[in-house]
Symmetry: C2
Subunit: 542 residues, 2 copies
């Protein structure tokens, strides 16, 4: 089982139930499961021309997803890739057709033509006015007089649907549909075959190849070509279309055959625009999964040279969620970058005591490099000491260019320095610490309170709490201790660091990924660094 | 190359270009490719609270697809599955933030938290009011305090976005976002891993297994379970959700992780509704590809117990096409089948000459069975004779129950008989022939004209023209000849049938699939049957 389904035989009725549920009451179905699978508009009063389409399932959201105001009135669903029965089509017609009549929109496949055709005859025998149009938009097989009906059918649904919704006559709706059909050209391409539920996957398209000119039922394409890139694939498609479409502006419909990621579909939009026909495309429908072939990793392009009335009908609002709308292709707007991305370097200012103080602090970390690396080797990749020492060396180098006389600016300068020179999460976290401290300092808070504010923000962003075996376990007690004096702070930092040796169930930071017995008895290197810094400060200020 | 892309390094910028093109001017981007990839609303005037989200790419349409009126103001796009840089986030914030401030909506992944967090600090240093919320809706790993942010993030985008659009303050928008975040629960499942562009596919999930509790970056799920059916899969998901969600009604968001067909997603809606939590789901968002993991063949469910204000904000109209809207889950409406599906049997009426005439015609076909089969063997599966003879025998059997005295009703009765007893395309086509003839007869046309009308419709539906090597090549000349007399008709039918032996490039019917040299010199069996029938009629009427 490689599909999200229950029994294969229930798949279509299950999917219809889901489609109706997700419509919030907009769609209903006819009784008559499992043979009659017809989805209808719940709000239909038969006062206008009804539009009935359908065919084999496996092309969702076509066709049930396009039932709604301004598009289809009913969709008749067959088994996967198999035409619905004459009875099912007739049920659909009889359920929605009033005095205004009914237009059947049929994709050009023999089964659909015959079953919809006979159902139309039977409906006529009841006195109904029924007309039928056959969509044959596929250009893959130019020699065949019987071109297949593929995703371009959506143009017919939308234009005829909008016209019918306006109250046009059956004759006018049919004529408009026929006119559109005469102008649609479609072609498809895929990198792989689709997976038919309950059948083994056909491995027809070898890796590195793409199939060009395929239909929507998993049948083989006209040719296999080497696949190189989205650009080259689009070039092959655009060449085929250019041969038949003339030079006038057109609406393009970009259809996901089912298995292409949303990311890739957007790449294809960009390439369509850059392609040989890109300049001719005035409007776009999609990209989107509109007429799929189950999970096929392919796409199709349909083009229509729409006249102003057709464009207006295509653009008319509809109550159908699966219809993506039409947008005009306009030139991209590129907005200039805002100021502030190159941080304004604060004017350097000399302050020898601060320079000396910071240098000594940095040297504490440089001296601790080997010890901290050794501690880190117990729970990580053994580089905490080198990371901190490297940042400390860079900071010493930078001190002469720093605003040493302005505490607020100095916090921010340290933030910038750390975020540039110190790698990993810890570099960003310390940068956040100093940035927030600078923020607090600029509001006039004294140093300890500014540092508390920095710690607060660092914890918020990093997610570490006391007991999580991080530097917080030393830093928070130390900042608390500073309210008494620096000796208290240093003792609190040391006690806090030592406690981390017993914290074997880390809940944040990378130690959270390590087994308890690997951590047991070893102090966290970040907490150790903080303890050593505060022990130094206590000595210096003693 | 298994993806629709050009160079891997260009994939995200190409996709952004496509997204912007498909927005029809609604979206713009900041200058600064390739490092700064920020999509912004084109209509933004900074008069309201800005909403900025983003993260690694590969989750499309999230996040750029949700930029627009009533949702995000800007989306910051990283490489595939990699957090954007601090500079990129800062550029996004600075580009859209005015006096009303800015809310950052971040999914709970370390890289995003840190980079958005530091960018927020830097923006604050410029005097901007910036708040940040972290979405942690994934329930896959209940023991981890740092739950991941997944598709439930969409609830936050929509609710906070609608509130900001109404002009609410940064404090209120942030509080609303935090309240929503506290109530979202999500879980994901997949049948296969995703394919990361440029990397070999990881074969982690064996056939027949599903992974439950996975994130959106291709990382392994919490457990692998045997996969049996959509129902069983949904049961496993619903059980996980039921454990955490309480008993109140909720909104469910059904998300396609990227590679599930639209058909299957609808099956999953039906199963969600039938599941243990189905009764609690009052509203549905989706199904749709909202927060994808590239092409992953999986889905996720997010639930939110929304209060009335949240529900109103979720339901508020938005200018964002990728947002599928919210529907209320109502009871399905099943419409009774229309009358007319069981064809009304016309009242039998006796008419011995007609009965005898039709019986003789049928016997012509029965006698020709072997010859026609032999002809068909040259171009098909050799059963045309048996198909026609079988239908003829069934018709003889049925004559006593037919309205023999009423020509119009008789055509229709023959249509019903043929469509029930004669298989294949030809049975449907002949049924259409008699149905249309009955239609014409009911308007008062004489027999020959009624038959011409039948032929006309049969050709329309079947697509065969003169020269296409079908029964039309005998039938049309015969009906023309009837304007003179039956002998002329018979001769014309015979000549027409004989001409098919030279028609080696069939353009309709199944002979169109056969090589020319296999057809050369052999009369089409359908045309031969028509010729024999008219030769018999000519003799009978002579």
């Amino acid at each position: 089982m490689t599909h999200f389904m229950n029994k294969k035989d229930d798949m279509v009725t299950d999917a219809i139930d889901g489609t109706i549920a997700a419509s919030g009451g907009a769609l209903s179905r006819l009784d008559g499961y499992p043979h009659i699978r017809v989805v209808v508009r719940s709000d239909w009063d038969k006062s206008k021309v009804a539009l009935v389409s359908g065919g084999g399932s496996g092309h969702e959201p076509a066709h049930a997803g396009f039932v709604g105001q301004g598009m289809l009135t009913a969709a008749v669903c067959g088994d996967i890739f198999a035409s619905p029965s004459v009875d099912a089509v007739l049920a659909g017609i009889l359920a929605v057709t009033g005095p205004a009549g009914c237009l059947l929109i049929v994709k050009n496949y023999t089964g659909d033509r015959l079953n919809f055709g006979l159902a139309a005859e039977r409906a006529r025998a009841f006195g109904h006015r029924v007309s039928m149009v056959v969509v044959d938009d596929d250009i893959a097989l130019p020699a065949l007089p019987q071109a297949r009906g593929v995703a371009g059918t959506l143009f017919v649904h939308k234009i005829a649907g909008a016209l019918a919704e306006q109250g046009a006559s059956l004759e006018d709706v049919t004529a408009a549909a026929d006119q559109v059909i005469g102008k649609i050209h479609s072609i498809g391409m895929s990198l792989d075959t689709c997976t038919v539920p309950g059948s083994p996957k056909e491995k027809r398209i070898p890796p590195g190849m793409a199939e060009l000119g395929l239909g929507i039922h998993g049948e083989a394409g006209v040719e296999q070509i080497p696949y190189e890139s989205a650009r080259q694939a689009m070039m092959a498609m655009a060449n085929k279309l250019q041969n038949v479409m003339g030079g006038a502006p057109c609406v393009a419909l970009l259809n996901n055959l089912g298995g292409v990621s949303v990311l890739e579909m957007s790449v294809l939009v960009a390439e369509l625009r850059r392609s040989a026909i890109g300049g001719q495309i005035s409007h776009l429908v999609g990209p989107g999964a509109l007429m799929t072939s189950l999970d096929m990793r392919g796409f199709s392009i349909s083009v229509l040279q729409a006249d102003p009335q057709e464009l207006a009908l295509l653009s008319a609002p509809s109550g159908v969620r699966a219809w993506p709308g039409v947008v005009e292709l306009v030139a991209d707007t590129v907005v200039v970058l805002p100021d502030g991305l190159s941080p304004i370097k604060a004017t350097p200012s000399a302050h020898e005591p601060t320079k000396a103080f910071l240098t000594r602090c940095c040297n504490v970390l440089i001296d601790a490099e080997g010890d901290l690396n050794a501690l880190d080797a117990k729970s990580g990749d053994g580089d905490t000491g080198s990371t901190l020492a490297g940042a400390a060396r860079a900071l010493i180098e930078a001190l002469d260019h720093m605003p040493l006389a302005d505490p607020t600016q100095l916090y921010r300068a340290i933030e910038q320095e750390l975020s540039q020179t110190m790698g990993g999460s810890s570099g960003v976290l310390l940068a956040i610490f100093f940035a927030a401290a600078g923020d607090a300092s600029s509001s006039g808070l004294p140093m300890r309170d500014a540092l508390v504010a920095g710690l607060q923000r660092m914890q918020e962003i990093g997610g570490a709490n006391l007991g999580d075996r991080t530097m917080v376990d030393a830093l928070r007690p130390a900042l608390d201790g500073m309210q008494v004096d620096m000796a208290t702070a240093a003792k609190a930092a040391r006690d806090g660091a030592d406690r981390t040796a017993a914290m074997t169930h880390a809940r944040a930071g990378r130690a959270s990924y390590i087994n308890a017995d690997q951590l047991e008895g070893h102090v966290d290197p970040g907490a150790e660094a903080v303890a050593r810094l505060f022990e130094h400060l206590a000595k210096e200020l003693a």
